[in-house]
């Protein structure tokens, strides 16, 4: 029944492990989520900062370059007031010193190319179109200005990409404007080396969104790549992030150029975040494993002794008599529990022994009480028969009767022993039958069939007599024909079988049950039930009486008891 109860609940191990791991998992998840969220925010912020810093550095460098160029321009302006010779000398020295200046050109008021200085090159005679100078733009702008990138188109067989810085000259000379064509060599070395993250880069555009310089300019020109400069030119300076790209814009001081930094969220943020996620997961898994192991260990410490205790209890329950208790180790609580259980087991076993002893004593006392009052009616009838025999002068029969009576009493007392040799018991039964046969005037015959090997074993005294009494009273008394009683005593393996058979009227099943359950009513003497009870108290439930009976055929009572030697059962 304890099994049925146990099925409904969960094991303590399961509960403990689940609870600990669950709580740890929930806490870990919360922490990880919070931490990773914060981390990502920090990384995005960091990426923006990095990007802005990189771009502002480029911006400063480009700005320096431009102011450098403006200074150079001032030098060129001044040279315009020199004589032709010294101007040529000055400018050729300047061009040698500044290899990124492709050409210095001067223009008249109507935009005609006046002079051109370029190392080792002279302009073509027929210039189809001079991209370095745009008269309208020059007239419109007040001070110096920068052009968009274009190809140098005034030389033959030399077409580098340049930007042009044009500045107006005071009105008194022949030249109205002077231009510097700048190649990208200086700017490119600044910009190409900028990297924001692994793949990030920056480029230079002007205020209208025209590309000035891009590290992958040729990719753009070949149509393999594009930058959304139109949108970018609308943006304010600062960092702008979308899902994949962070743009950071900074204006270059002293020009309308702007530096745009492009960096990838994926590599600056997501990669770090995913690395952190991996690391966090690793830690989480390790913590969970540790929690799992600890809780498992803990629960085993708790549950193993408990389970040992439980199985001890089950064993005790199924066989209390032969249960040996060994204390269970474990935590202190379990030890105390175990100790209490041990005390309980001892106490119960003591009680059980006491109860059994008391029962035995009770039956003994009962037997003695019954013996003390052995049917006075029987005694009176017997003595009456003896007296009658004496009157008739049947002295020999009278003597036999008196002897039988004496033997009956002697054996039934047997110096107070409960167990007597089977031979004595048979003698007792025979004495009883003898007396009864005289009393019933030979209405029945009796026969003993005793296996001689059985004679020396012990048996409970007054076992056969109540059975025989029952056979005479219930079976033979009412019969008209001569009755017959057979008593068999046989060994059966480790047991001995007593059988009392009669050919009387027999008993119904109800009568059998009544005799075994309640014993004889309103009758003195030792009942069949008393015999059965004694046998079972002494030898166990598997021993005792069985009655089989057929109406008008006869009754057979079988008694089973173990073989007992005199010395083996001295205690009882």
């Amino acid at each position: 029944m304890s099994k049925n109860v146990a099925q409904t609940g969960l094991r303590i191990t399961t509960i403990l492990v689940a609870m600990v791991v669950g709580v740890v998992a929930i806490i870990l998840c919360c922490f990880l989520a919070l931490f990773l969220n914060r981390y990502q925010d920090a990384m995005v912020q960091n990426a923006r900062t990095t990007s802005v810093q990189a771009v502002s550095q480029v911006s400063t460098t480009v700005s320096n370059y431009l102011s450098d160029m403006r200074q150079a321009m001032e030098l060129v302006e001044q040279s315009m007031w020199e004589t032709d010779e010294s101007r040529d000398e000055l400018l050729s020295a300047f061009l040698e010193f500044r290899p990124d200046v492709v050409a210095v050109t001067s223009y008249s008021h109507d935009g005609q190319l006046l002079q051109c200085w370029s190392p080792g090159r002279t302009p073509k005679d027929n210039i189809l179109q001079n991209l370095s100078f745009d008269l309208e733009k020059a007239q419109a702008s007040q001070g110096p200005y920068m052009s968009a990138p274009h190809v140098e188109s005034i030389f033959e067989g030399y077409y580098p990409w340049v930007v042009t810085m044009t500045t107006p000259l005071p009105q008194d000379g022949s030249a109205a404007w002077v231009s510097l064509d700048l190649s990208f060599s200086s700017i490119s070395s600044y910009i190409n080396n900028v990297s924001i993250g692994q793949r990030g880069y920056c480029f230079l555009m002007d205020g209208d969104g025209n590309m000035v310089y891009h590290p992958q300019q040729q990719l753009l020109y070949s149509g393999l790549k594009s930058e959304d400069t139109a949108t970018l030119s609308q943006m304010e300076d600062g960092a702008w992030a979308n899902d994949t790209v962070i743009y950071s814009l900074t204006s270059v001081e002293g020009s309308d150029w702007r530096v745009v930094g492009v960096s990838y969220v994926d590599e600056l943020v997501n990669r770090n975040v995913s690395e952190m996620v991996h690391l966090s997961l690793l830690i989480a898994v390790m913590v969970l494993l540790a929690a799992l192991f600890t809780s498992w260990l803990l629960s085993r410490l708790l549950s193993r002794p408990l389970r040992a205790l439980e199985s001890a209890m089950e064993n005790f329950e199924s066989d209390a008599d032969h249960f040996d208790y060994y204390p269970v180790g474990g935590t202190r609580e379990v030890q105390e529990l175990s100790c209490s259980f041990g005390h309980m087991v001892m106490r119960i076993q003591q009680l059980m022994t006491t109860v059994r002893e008391e029962e035995v004593n009770l039956r003994k006392t009962e037997l003695k009480a019954l013996q003390a009052q052995i049917n006075p009616h029987f005694l009176y009838n017997t003595l009456d028969s003896i007296a009658w025999m004496c009157e008739q002068g049947r002295n020999a029969d009278a003597v036999k009767m008196v002897h039988a009576l004496a033997r009956l009493f002697r054996i039934s007392i047997s110096k107070g022993h409960e167990l007597i040799p089977i031979s004595k018991e048979i003698e007792h039964a025979e004495s009883y039958l003898q007396i009864q046969k005289y009393r019933y005037k030979n209405q029945f015959t009796y026969h003993f069939h005793v296996d001689p090997t059985c004679l020396n074993y012990l048996c409970n005294k007054i076992t056969l007599q109540p059975i025989i009494e029952n056979a005479i009273n219930h079976g033979l008394d009412l019969m008209v024909d001569e009755g017959r009683i057979d008593v068999y005593v046989q060994p059966d393996g480790e047991d001995i079988i007593f059988r009392v058979e009669d050919n009387g009227v027999g008993m119904s099943q109800e009568q059998i049950v009544a005799i075994l359950e309640h014993g004889p009513k309103e009758r003195t003497g030792i009942g069949i039930r008393n015999v059965n009870d004694r046998l079972q108290i002494y030898f166990g439930k598997e021993y005792g009486l069985t009655i089989t009976s057929k109406l008008d055929v006869g009754t057979c009572v079988e008694i089973r008891m173990p073989k007992l030697w005199e010395d083996s059962y001295e205690g009882k």
Binding site: R11, T13, T14, V17, P99, D100, V102, K124, N126, L128, Q129, L131, H150, V151, S153, E156, G157, Y158, Y159, P160, W161, S183, F184, S185, S186, S188, S189, N192, P215, Q216, Q217, Q218, L219, Y221, S222, G223, L224, H278, L281, L282, V285, M286, L288, L289, L292, W296, R307
Partner: protein, 328 residues
């Protein structure tokens, strides 16, 4: 107890699996080797292809070898280069075939060794070619013819200066041009010559052609060296006003020619894109992104004449941006 142990073991296993999957390191394999075998290593067209290829190789972290024969007719040298590259353990070939048929066997043999094949500029007759990246040559030929038809009035007497007859792209261009002229009804292809893809030889052959057929008033030259040669021939004959020359590709001398009148129109291809996309496709093929590689990629072509020579688009198409500047 037993059931519990099993659960525990299962949970532990699951967690350690998670652990393993977490800690699986990102792969840092050695870079793939890609070999670009060009038709030539001299012309501006090919230099631009190489620049594009190098840009892609840098971007995708590839080892790029660029080789090419000395002349644009030496397909045998190309075949040897293919074999050598395969032997040297190249993972992919970006190939421009001099000979549509005679290069096929070498390419098939390379493909047999598991080398990925990308054809650029000029295709080869092989099933192993995963993708062809280049100009739609037939359309480019049509474009060249149409440029002449649009700009020259009256009857057209056309002379065509083509390069090696076995080159697939030259023949395609010629077919496109001839068919367009024929359809127009006012043009007659007087002569087609196949010269070598070297400027001075083309110049000689063009001069001979013009001498032989003085009625020619339109000349088509189908690649960079032949265009340069034809322009030189016209310049030497001082015949710029009479002869309308349509050339191919960008070269400083043809650009100069456009300005002084010897060249009247240029069909400008996009060599940088060919090089870049060729190497990029090789990378995609090598990294298992084959489904992103289409069978044919048409790179843009553009007509440049004297009027639009310095438009922004023409500038971008004609003039390579010198990334490092003159100082480097």
């Amino acid at each position: 107890m037993k059931g519990n142990k099993r659960t525990l073991a299962a949970v532990t296993a699951a967690l350690s699996l998670l652990l393993c999957s977490c800690s699986s390191a990102s792969d840092t394999a050695t870079p793939h080797t890609v070999t670009l075998i060009a038709k030539s290593t001299q012309t501006e067209f090919w230099l631009s292809v190489f620049a594009g290829a190098e840009a892609a190789a840098t971007e995708y972290n590839l080892d790029l070898n660029i080789i090419g024969p000395n002349t644009e007719e030496d397909y045998e040298a190309q075949n040897q280069m293919v074999a050598q590259a395969v032997e040297a353990g190249t993972d992919a070939l970006v190939f421009s075939a001099i000979h549509y048929d005679n290069n096929a066997a070498a390419i098939d043999a390379a493909a047999q060794q598991g080398v990925k094949i990308v054809a650029i500029d000029s295709n080869v007759d092989s099933q192993a070619v995963s993708t062809y990246i280049g100009t739609d040559n037939y359309a480019a030929g049509q474009m060249a013819a149409q440029a002449a038809l649009d700009r020259v009035e009256g009857q057209l007497h056309v002379g065509i200066i083509n390069y090696d007859i076995s080159s697939a792209n030259g023949q395609e261009r010629e077919r496109g041009a001839v068919e367009t002229f024929t359809r127009s009804g006012r043009a007659q292809v007087v002569s087609v010559i196949n010269t070598l893809a070297e400027a001075h030889i083309a110049q000689t052959d063009t001069t001979a052609l013009l001498t032989q057929h003085p009625e020619i008033n339109v000349l088509l030259a189908f690649n960079e060296p032949t265009s340069v040669g034809a322009a030189k021939a016209i310049e030497n004959r001082d015949d710029a006003d009479n002869i309308f020359l349509v050339g191919f590709d960008s070269n400083v001398s043809t650009v100069d020619g456009l300005q002084n009148g010897t060249v009247d129109a240029l069909i400008v291809q996009n060599p940088y894109a060919m090089g870049y996309l060729g190497v990029e496709s090789a990378y995609k093929l090598l990294t298992g992104q084959s489904k992103d590689v289409t069978h044919t990629v048409d790179t843009s072509t553009q007509i440049v004449d004297r009027d639009n020579l310095f438009s922004m688009d023409s500038q971008k198409a004609l003039f390579t941006f010198e990334q490092r500047g003159k100082s480097s």
